[in-house]
């Protein structure tokens, strides 16, 4: 998986591309979120548009990222979820846990 990090004002946006699966994308996601939080940002958006596959480890990393961010006073939100990512979050009732937006503008303006 590739992670591109960019800023829009005070919002840090992580563009994810590829698979978030065990042993690869899950660790990259963890590191990217950790680095963003270490940089001092209080607003993180994760762009899921180009995520092709996510497994339970990837879901676990998203949950960890969300809880860690919340505990540190950081808002972490998701946008542009592919249908299959929405499905897998819905099955485990996590879709109600995350703040999810249809597009980047909506997500940026939600803070």
């Amino acid at each position: 998986m590739n992670v591109n990090v960019r800023q829009r004002g005070d919002v840090t946006i992580l563009d994810l591309k590829g698979k978030i699966t065990i042993g690869a994308g899950d660790i990259q996601l963890r590191n990217a979120v950790q680095e963003a939080m270490n940089s001092g940002t209080k607003k993180i958006l994760i762009d899921m548009k180009d995520v092709s596959t996510i497994d339970s480890s990837g879901i676990g990393e998203l949950v960890s990222a969300y809880t860690t961010a919340t505990n540190r006073g950081v808002k972490l939100k998701l946008f542009c979820l592919p249908t299959k990512v929405t499905d897998i979050l819905t099955i485990t009732q996590l879709i109600t846990v995350f703040d999810v937006y249809d597009n980047e503008e909506e997500a940026v303006n939600s803070f």
């Binding site: 596959t53 339970s56 480890s57 990393e61 949950v63 809880t67 299959k84 485990t92 009732q93 846990v97």
Partner: protein, 148 residues
């Protein structure tokens, strides 16, 4: 059963080897005429089973192997994945939908397997490790063989 209807192979216990299985699996699922959505969810279920075998069964010991068997049996795709670990008791697993488990970072793999396959079973494999059997009904051509 004709030989063409069964594949058996083994991989070392490294997560990157999951991708090797996925290549073979994808080819089989396409030959069976499964639609793209079904292929995706079977792919995810098999990923979960392989990840469990590598991580929990073989404890990522690269000298231990994960054995994968793909077969068509009575109009079902049957995938058996066996590790070389000490066995596993699936009865003590928590419900990932329980409020106290909802924000746990783990414990969803078997739940996803059950959701995406028609049937899954855990048991002891012939080698003494854990064997998970995943079954999916096939509605398309019931052969791995190419028609062309």
């Amino acid at each position: 059963m004709p030989d063409e209807q069964r594949f058996h192979f083994a991989i070392g216990s490294r997560f990157e080897n999951i991708e090797l299985v996925q290549v073979v699996l994808k080819d089989c699922l396409q030959r069976l005429g499964m639609d793209d959505d079904t292929q995706h969810w079977v792919d995810v279920a098999v990923r979960e089973a392989l990840a469990n075998a590598i991580k929990h069964g073989n404890e990522q010991n690269p000298s231990k192997q994960v054995h994968v068997d793909l077969a068509i049996e009575a109009s079902e795709l049957v995938i058996r994945i066996e590790d070389e670990g000490v066995g596993f008791d699936a009865t003590g697993l928590g419900d990932p939908l329980a409020p106290e488990n909802l924000l746990r970072p783990n414990g969803r793999g078997i739940f996803y397997m059950k959701k995406f396959m028609d049937e899954i079973d855990y048991g002891a494999g012939p080698g003494g490790g854990t064997m998970v059997t995943l079954r999916k009904r096939v509605s398309g051509p019931k052969t791995f063989r190419h028609d062309d």
